[in-house]
């Protein structure tokens, strides 16, 4: 098994291109894990991560002699290598990658509707995401106190350039929790 990676860093985002080459005579199940240390932004279809991808990388089966091309983005600084095999094991020759399996396996945290119908995730993917696009939502600016707005703007700028810190993430989460609690109280 061979894994080749290539990295491009653009506007605060690391783009990782990887090639998994199975030069063995048997199909192999592999896990390609990100080594850059940030969260993995997987390829998406209709807003949902493509099958096989999770927060840490990609898992799937590569047939004997097959070469699989993978690509993802991450806000973390590039590492060398950008990605590596977490493990590889021999797969049954008939075994398929998650993307090729009957796509009825409910993803983690998703409701199982029972019966043999499609999962909510599949229905969403097939019929299209009904949510309005992110760009359609203008963040409110006028009603916020100046200091709060300035701080949020700074966090927003850091997030856009990929320089958001752990402190930023913690503070935004704390702010959200506090605001949700406070909203209940002031609206009563």
């Amino acid at each position: 098994m061979r894994l080749e990676t290539e990295i491009h860093r653009r506007r605060g985002v690391t783009l990782v291109a990887a090639r998994v080459v199975n030069d063995e005579v048997h199909a192999a199940r592999v896990r390609v894990a990100d080594q850059c240390g940030g969260s993995v932004w997987p390829p998406r279809e209709d807003g949902l991560p493509v099958a096989g991808w999770d927060d840490g990388g990609w898992e799937g089966v590569v047939a004997a002699g097959e070469t699989r091309a993978l690509g993802y983005a991450t806000p973390a600084e590039p590492a060398t290598p950008a990605a590596a095999f977490a493990w590889t094991e021999r797969a049954a020759d008939a075994e398929l990658s998650p993307g090729e399996e009957a796509r009825s396996e409910p993803a983690a945290g998703e409701a199982c509707t029972g019966g043999s119908g499609p999962s909510p995730g599949e229905t969403l993917a097939q019929l299209g995401d009904p949510r309005p696009p992110r760009d359609a939502i203008a963040p409110p600016t006028t009603v916020l106190p100046d200091a709060v707005r300035d701080w949020l703007d700074r966090v927003s700028t850091r997030a856009e350039t990929g320089d958001a810190t752990d402190t930023d993430r913690e503070r935004v989460t704390a702010l959200e929790a506090r605001a949700a609690r406070l909203r209940e109280v002031v609206e009563e």
Partner: protein, 218 residues
């Protein structure tokens, strides 16, 4: 039981039919129109909060005299934060707590219609005699069939008589609902036609529609 009220085209009277059916069936009305909610909402958590994980579905239900309602927020930001997939669990949770649920679906045939249909036991299609509305009702019917939500009945809105052609095309009993002022007033006030104008044809027809639904669920 979870009943989805859908129709494809907008403005055909889905919300009116859903509100009146919920009243007849003693069900909780869930406004699942994530982008353009119609059912009056007061203060407190709504479906946007539920789908964003900020509230549970059961605590977002407003228990009211006429019809208990789980309203939906009206902001784009709220719609953006909502995970449409969570509507499946939310509807299940309300059904386990309250028994019957009527879902007012949005127009169109995207996932915000498909996901309620996926979890629904049956659906009621709403259409007007207008050609465009009928064409959209046929498409909505196909989606409901694909997602295993049996068609219980068709609410033939703004029509004085039921049409055999429509019943044959859609393959379900058709109940004509006259275009009565009380039907529109129902949504304005959040009170069903049966409460506002108990002796009218519209109120009577919604009762018939509810009978069809009950029969379908037996």
């Amino acid at each position: 039981m979870i009943l989805a009220v859908c129709g494809g085209k907008g403005g055909v009277g889905k919300t009116t039919a859903a509100l009146n059916l919920a009243a007849e069936l003693g069900a909780v009305l869930v406004d699942a129109d994530l982008g353009m909610a119609d059912v009056p909402a007061g203060r407190g958590p709504d479906l946007h909060d539920v789908l964003a994980g900020r509230a549970t579905a059961v605590e977002a239900v407003r228990e009211q005299d006429a019809v208990s309602v789980l309203p939906c927020g009206r902001t784009l930001a709220g719609a953006r934060e909502a995970d449409p997939r969570r509507v499946v669990n939310a509807l299940d949770a309300v059904a386990s707590e309250y028994g019957d649920v009527v879902v007012d679906c949005p127009a169109g045939l995207r996932a915000d219609v498909g996901l309620p249909l996926l979890v629904a036991d049956a659906c009621v299609l709403v259409t007007t005699p207008d050609r465009a509305a009928l064409a959209d009702a046929l498409r909505a019917r196909s989606l409901a069939v694909e997602l295993d939500a049996g068609l219980a009945a068709v609410a033939y809105n703004c029509a004085s008589d039921a049409s055999d052609d429509v019943a044959a095309a859609l393959g379900a009993p058709v109940v004509a609902v006259p275009d009565a002022a009380c039907a529109a007033a129902a949504v304005e006030t959040g009170r069903p036609a049966a409460a506002l104008a108990p002796a009218t044809t519209a109120a009577d027809r919604f009762a018939t529609l509810a009978d069809h639904v009950r029969r379908c669920m037996q």
